[in-house]
């Protein structure tokens, strides 16, 4: 099992969610985050004084999938999140040791 974390543009959330649902993904967690990568932030000007605002609002989607699903999930996310401009974000993939469904006590593949 792998955990996939996606940091990307907030307005892309619906497209990504729908595409992943079609792929058969049953659940995900979404958080509103702020940060910067190569895009950096933006400039604000108040009475001629410029301020560099470093942190840009982003969303982070977290989901855990079976290892064989990872290539499909990553491709789907990339297809739907990509604009080609700086600031599209990143996908992080990491191993997951186990998963427990709280209600039933199922573990591993059954709980994903």
């Amino acid at each position: 099992m792998k955990k996939i974390e996606v940091v990307t543009r907030p307005y892309k959330l619906d497209e990504i969610k729908e595409a992943l649902t079609e792929l058969g993904i049953k659940g995900m967690t979404v958080v509103e985050v702020k940060g910067f990568g190569r895009q950096r932030g933006h400039k604000e000007v108040y009475r001629g004084a410029e301020y560099q605002v470093d942190f840009t609002p982003k969303i982070k989607i977290e989901l855990v999938v079976d290892s064989d699903m990872v290539p499909h999930v990553v491709k789907t996310i990339q297809d739907n999140a990509r604009t080609g401009e700086v600031g599209d974000g990143k996908i992080f993939i990491s191993p997951i040791e186990d998963v427990v469904r709280i209600r039933t006590g199922e573990t591993g593949h059954d709980a994903v």
């Binding site: 604000e44 000007v45 108040y46 009475r47 001629g48 004084a49």
Partner: protein, 404 residues
């Protein structure tokens, strides 16, 4: 006495009163969220405190019988002899009407200064400073210009308070910003306005109230009041456009804060000239006022003082430009009681205006520095670094403006 004039000036007094809460919102939106209540308080409490000081002694020092061209006598102490009979300054109005109209000017002027020391002044020190300031700086200035004092006698034109209200608050704001010092983190941290919609609303209320301020300064419901109303509106309109154009060219985008600031700059600039210039004159004064005050706020980081909300750049510079512009654009075709300016063949008027500018800046700056020092010794003028860091709302008033 004249009942139409009385009705008009009473309403104008109410309009000018509304400028002070308008100013509170204008300033309040520009500070950080932790200082919103402290900043609103700085303006609102002036309605309370200054009104009382005005009734006790301020009015008398301003409009009591002249002593050497410098100050009014104590004839009207505790509003003694100020009643329903005709006012000595305007025999078409009851004395009480003239007094309360002038009271509203005395209230907003020290409130204007508060933009210079926003986010770091101790409330007790601020109150003491403001009370002393009204007595020691405002009342003499008011007497000099409108109460039969030397500046008015010299022939200086100041229709609605370019010197009395705007240059005096601008010069005192510079003194305060220099004496109290910069906010913690000035030049390193971001001081981003926390609620610009409040600022825009405040600017709109100021614009609205300014009709009472300037048109009411005709002290009658007549053609001159109409003329001042029109010049006021045109100057504000032109300055909003002027500031926005300057900003768009210089910084790349037109901003709402720029539009609001420009409108206020135009209102400031036209104040001394409102009853002396033509509508076309007022458009030029406003347009240039927008450019000049935009330049004024850009000067602040270069000169390195922390005038938090640009009182010097907008009221100081705008008032100065307006006073000098009165010497350029004034014409007796608008107001037979006025004078012609340079463009109407009377260069002498510009010199008189220049003298009034220098005297106002010097007097208000020096007196304010002295008052700040006195207040600092008696009760202290600046909050502690910790109080500044948690904000004035909690440290001075034990309240917070917003619950998220």
């Amino acid at each position: 006495m004249n009942s139409a004039d009385t009705a008009f000036i009473l309403i104008c007094a109410a309009l000018v009163m509304f400028m002070t809460p308008g100013l509170a919102l204008f300033y309040g939106g520009m500070v950080r969220g932790k200082n919103i209540l402290g900043t609103l308080m700085h303006s609102m409490i002036m309605l309370g405190v200054v009104s009382i000081v005005w009734a006790i002694i301020g009015y008398s020092l301003s409009f009591g019988s002249d002593i050497g061209g410098f100050i009014g006598g104590l004839d009207y102490l505790w509003l003694n002899g100020v009643g329903q009979e005709a006012a000595p300054m305007a025999d078409n109005l009851p004395h009480l009407v003239f007094m309360i109209f002038q009271c509203m000017f005395a209230v907003i002027t020290p409130a204007l200064i508060t933009g210079a020391f926003a986010e770091r002044i101790k409330f007790s020190g601020f109150l003491l400073f403001s009370i002393l300031w009204v007595v020691v700086v405002y009342a003499p200035m008011c007497h000099w210009v409108w109460g039969g004092g030397w500046m008015g006698e010299m022939g200086a034109l100041d229709f609605a308070g370019g010197a009395v209200v705007h240059m005096s608050s601008g010069a005192s704001a510079l003194a305060a910003a220099l004496y109290i010092g910069k906010r913690q983190g000035f030049g390193k941290q971001h001081f981003i306005p926390h609620n610009l919609p409040l600022t825009i609303l405040g600017a709109a209320i100021l614009w609205f109230g300014w009709f009472g301020f300037n048109a009411g300064s005709a002290l009658a419901a007549n053609g001159l009041a109409a003329s001042a109303f029109v010049t006021t509106h045109m100057a504000a309109a032109a300055a909003a456009c002027g500031w926005l154009a300057a900003e768009w060219l210089h910084a790349g985008k037109p901003t709402t804060l720029g539009m609001a600031s420009g409108a206020v700059a135009g209102l400031v600039a036209i104040t001394p000239a409102a009853g002396f210039v033509t509508p076309m004159g007022s458009i030029i004064i406003g347009l240039l006022g927008g450019f000049i005050c935009y330049g004024g706020v850009l000067l602040k980081p270069i000169l390195g003082y922390d005038d938090s909300l640009d009182v010097v750049g907008i009221h100081g510079l705008g008032g100065t430009w307006g006073a000098l512009a009165t010497g350029l654009f004034a014409t007796t075709a608008v107001n037979v009681g006025g004078a012609d300016g340079l463009f109407y063949g009377n260069p002498g008027q510009l010199w008189i205006q220049f003298v009034s500018v220098i005297a106002t800046w010097a007097f208000c700056f020096v007196m304010s520095l002295i008052l700040l020092k006195i207040v600092d010794v008696i009760v202290g003028i600046r909050v502690t670094p910790e109080e500044e860091s948690v904000g004035l709302d909690v440290s001075q008033h034990s309240e917070t403006g917003y619950q998220f």
